[in-house]
Subunit: 93 residues, 2 copies
Amino acid sequence: MIKVNEYFDGQVKSLAYRSEAGKSTVGVIEAGDFEFGTSEHEIMTIVEGELEVLLPGAQEWQSFGQGQKFEVPANASFKVKSKGQTAYLCQYR
Amino acid sequence: MIKVNEYFDGQVKSLAYRSEAGKSTVGVIEAGDFEFGTSEHEIMTIVEGELEVLLPGAQEWQSFGQGQKFEVPANASFKVKSKGQTAYLCQYR
């Protein structure tokens, strides 16, 4: 089954599925500022678009574009700024 | 707005958005055999998983894995076989 998730009043939507390597989601983030919490370790890859990201414990924002990835530990939170609609892959590994 | 689309009784779901370069969707295809029709030129990229694809007019199936892409002209149809749940990016360019 492909599960549709919505967050932030529909400003973030994702499709949850399972690959051979484990659980994943593909999703889209609207333009805006968001803070996400993790319950598991996440590998986030930008599929299309660009995100400014403030990783847990970081002082400086970093920019990630198409094909670039960043990792977030479990039980942490990170902030993103999306200029436009940004598509991402999130792998729980 | 991020539009949720469902096809084949929910066996294919996608999220429609717009990037700087044009319209796109990210989606997930369940395991199974599907035939898709195009109304516009599409660039399909495998985000995670693997698809066997029979392109329009082709005699032989081709395999596409993570990061690989294929193009389909407008007003054509193509067949896919998905072994597991496969995530894709579709760019209308």
